[in-house]
Amino acid sequence: MIQDIRLMKGNEALAEAAILAGCDAYFGYPITPQSEVLEYLAREMPGRGRIVLQAESEVSSINMVHGAAGAGFRAMTSSSSPGISLMQEGISYMAGAELPCLIVNVNRAGPGLGTIQPGQGDYFQSVKGGGHGDYKLIVLAPASVQEMADFVFLGFDLADTYRNPVLILSDGAIGQMMEKVQFKPYEKPDFDKSWATVGKPPTRKRNSISSLHILPEKMEQHNLKLLAKFNEIESKEVRYEEMQTDDAYYLFVAYGLCARICHKAMDIARAKGIKIGLLRPITLWPFPEQKLFELAGKVKHMLTVELNTGQMVQDVKLAVNGKVPVSYYGRLGGMVPTPEEIVQHLETIINYHHAN
């Protein structure tokens, strides 16, 4: 059998995957570096009976997703950092109303308008909720064009399983780069959507989709219900990739583009005799805390590599709970570290902390 392998941009692979994953509706607004998603779907979806609509703002996009998802359809939107900020209100409402949807952030450097080059400065916003109130998003961090495609299928299924928004946190480099990608056969599972607002037959009570519980007693019960769901997700959905940790003295912790660069840095360091491994969180929430705690019993030092001023490093520190020292190295403003400079920083740490 001939395999369907294509050469595609990350953003386009993600868009094609959305069609194959049975996305019924896409609502979006142009912003660099992810406009290819809207452009690709504007071209490809109408002929397949799907809905694609360019909204007047990201605020509107996410609320159109609310409407479509609330009617029981697979709906998604995508944007980049400033646009994702505008969506936070709608995301909070959808998390509160327990509506499944897929949101894609092709992260650029900030704050403010920042620049269109890759960044990971939206880590905190992504994994700590992002909008107002007490909620979590399931956050998937692709490190290749292949994963840009794969995580769309996974993301929609997780969203439908848990009735919760799922965020794919990519970056400008993964979104823009071209790699080979293979689309695997996919069959959409059946999900119970009896809660959807499709028109009330006489046989059931009306469906109301709302995040409002005005009585504190009821709101607390709702918060506890969400908490139980988040606890279940934490116990079942942690995903990570572990490389060369068996004999590792040191450990890189990096996701997305930085994990790709750390692959190469790991090869360079090992060629120099430094035994280093890599833990790549695939789900940034739920975070692989337990795995990191285990590894903290094996390695002498952990080094996070991030395109921000040090965000994930805080979660790694929480995870290892003081068992090993954790350092951070990063580049900012759309600049990307070379493998060599990462190794250089690693060597500085080793010489300073572990010389003897």
Partner: protein, 272 residues
């Protein structure tokens, strides 16, 4: 018990006949529409919301479209509309009802979709979503309650607050040089080619109620044609925040509100 009829002109069809278990000679000429939930409403005495809720649900029932109707509730006094209207509903973030309704209607073009929004929700924070939905000619109904004030948050100035009107945030009266003039939503939206039917009505008199119901009937029926957005602006009242009795508030509509917001059809099918 005598029911005071608020000095409104009363016709035979308006007269409420008391129900009595023991006497079967009375004919029931009025009933709560089945599509309106039998629940006490949280609205203040004399408020127009409950009446408009009833009118919408009467139309839904009479057209036999309860199963095909999906509503979108706003943020504002009518945030709980889904507790009273016995149809599937989504409650949207403040101002975003038309975006949510777009998502619903685009996926289910054969259903009847309506939003129910106040002046703060529609004309302030949500005017972009409203204007663009109408400009796209989204094929749903917008029911717009204009009572010139933020009701739920206790009487702050709205985009439709009249010039000189005192509110908690315009305590010396709204000045046009400082806050601009009240937005005439119906007239504004009628300029957009995407709007199909735009009308402004009142519910402070029996005639007004009948005309409003007719407007809602038209608007729901026009959804079958897929010709564009219908906007029914209804001048509401707010006795609590206008600091008036319901009777005074209803009089204020006739004496002041309709001067700024002229009544009648602004755009009817075939025009524009």
């Amino acid at each position: 018990m005598q029911t005071e009829l608020l000095e409104l002109p009363v016709t035979e069809t308006d007269r409420v006949v008391p129900q009595c278990q023991d006497v079967e000679v009375f004919e029931q000429v009025y009933h709560r529409p089945a599509a309106l939930v039998d629940a006490p409403m949280h609205y203040c005495p004399g408020c127009a919301h409950s009446l408009v809720h009833k009118l919408i649900m009467e139309v839904v029932e009479e057209m036999g479209i309860q199963e095909q109707t999906i509503g979108v509730a706003p943020v504002g006094c009518s945030v709980f509309a889904y507790d009273y209207m016995d149809v599937d509903m989504q409650q949207a973030a403040h101002g975003r009802a038309c975006a949510v309704a777009t998502g619903i209607k685009r996926l289910m073009p054969d259903k009847y979709v309506f939003t129910y929004q106040g002046d703060g929700d529609l004309a302030a924070i949500g005017i972009a979503e409203t204007l663009h939905a109408i400009n796209r000619g989204e094929n749903f109904l917008i029911v717009f309650i204009n009572n010139a004030v933020y009701g739920m948050t206790s009487g702050q100035m709205a985009p439709t607050t009249l010039i000189g009107m005192h509110t908690t945030t315009s305590p010396y009266g709204r000045e046009q040089s400082f806050y601009g003039a009240p937005i005439k939503v119906a007239e504004l939206m009628a300029t957009l080619p995407g709007s199909y039917y735009v009308t402004r009505q009142v519910v402070n008199s029996a005639n007004g109620v009948r005309r409003t119901k007719k407007a809602l009937q038209n608007a729901f029926k026009y959804q079958q044609l897929n010709k564009g957005t219908c906007l029914v602006e209804i001048i509401g009242n707010c006795p609590s925040n206008w600091k008036m009795t319901p009777i005074e508030a209803n009089r204020f509509i006739d004496e002041e509100m309709v001067k700024a917001f002229p009544l009648g059809d602004v755009k009817v099918p075939g025009e524009g």
